[in-house]
Symmetry: C2
Subunit: 198 residues, 2 copies
DNA sequence: AAAACTGATTGACTTTGGTTAAGAAAGGAA
DNA sequence: TTCCTTTCTTAACCAAAGTCAATCAGTTTT
């Protein structure tokens, strides 16, 4: 969890932010100056089920896994990799506790920031950025959910091969399986079926 | 599509907005004064796949179905009912076209507003409202997606009975089926299985 | 009333996924 | 290297979902 002054890494965040808002030279410098970059070890846990989230993250390097503990079984529901923000929102009417775990699947480099509190005096430009980023993320999540309702596990695996092929080799298959909504044995069978088809 | 001055109906919108922001008396009056409330007929289509969304909606009365047309088959992915906003976001890096249809399952009363354009001079209070609402919606959608990865169709049907029981009687079952990620015949069997269990 | 249409159910059969249990393969640690 | 742990694969069996086709019930149309 040391502080590192890695310039090319930091530019990734600027690139991400630039998708959502026009940044002046000063903006960029201000952001980079105050950036809190931390190193995490494989296995480090960022938050546990039931804890109240205080931080949000941006992944520069590594992979973070989001999961639930259901009847003693870990159910993986998301992976966050390079260039992705981890938005640990506090739902407005929901209780403020996290409903899942976040843990590092690999050694990670991430920037860490406080969750923006309501009713604080913040640069309106930053609020607009958050609004756009949240809408963008919402749009993407809605489409993923729709895709889920429309496809079977095999189709979802093929989709994953197309959109995030690196995950397949990077992540243990039994984590991937619950991410695809199936058991590890079924994923193994799907993989065999597919190799036979070619 | 007439204009209607239905006061109790309008208060629903205020109630929704109040979840996200403190509204003064003036705010409330300003919002209610300019409200564009329209009536839609059963079967009316709000937007088609490929069209560029210009409006967003808030449902006062009725039910709107969101669906895709996949290989000639309609796949239902969402229902919007009383008190729900229909946020037709334009993803930032995605193309601006809608990827789905929206059509009225019943006669509907909705308020209609333009999608907020970027870089316009807008009350910062309103931006904050949008940010919070989007984050809240995102939080909810992420949890729905996680639930989807974790459960089988029967469990999802039971969950639906708990959370939105009115949908089950209100909506044709073959629409419900694809919403649950299965075929109409399978939903019918699940229902039979469940009645036998009791 | 008869015909047409829409939506739900059922049956027979196939395919796929869950379960349980046993091994095989790969990667680290001693 | 050997041992051990982690991860992946396979098999056998069962339950559930998909497919195709027929039927039924309830509406609406003519």
């Amino acid at each position: 969890m040391d502080q590192t002054p890695d310039i090319p890494t930091r530019n990734e965040l600027i690139k991400y932010l630039s998708k959502y808002i026009n940044l002046t030279e000063e903006d960029t410098n201000a952001i980079l100056k105050d950036l809190d970059i931390r190193l995490y070890k494989k296995g480090d846990i960022l938050i546990k089920e039931g804890e109240i989230p205080e931080l949000c993250y941006f992944v520069f390097k590594g992979c973070v896994r989001q999961y639930f503990n259901l009847d003693g079984e870990e159910k993986t529901t998301e992976f966050y990799t390079e260039g992705q923000p981890i938005s640990v929102f506090r739902g407005t009417n929901v209780n403020k506790k996290s409903s899942f775990f976040l843990s590092c699947l690999e050694d990670c480099v991430m920037s860490v920031g406080p969750i923006v509190p309501e009713n604080t005096d913040i640069d309106p430009k930053f609020i607009t950025l958050c609004k756009t980023a949240a809408e963008d993320e919402l749009c993407r999540t809605q489409e993923t959910l729709a895709m889920y309702r429309l496809t079977n596990p095999e189709e979802r695996y093929l989709e994953l091969m197309k959109t995030k092929p690196e995950l397949i080799t990077r992540v243990p298959q039994y984590y991937l399986a619950s991410y695809l909504g199936i058991k590890a044995e079924s994923l193994s069978r799907i993989r065999r079926r597919l190799t036979k088809k070619t």
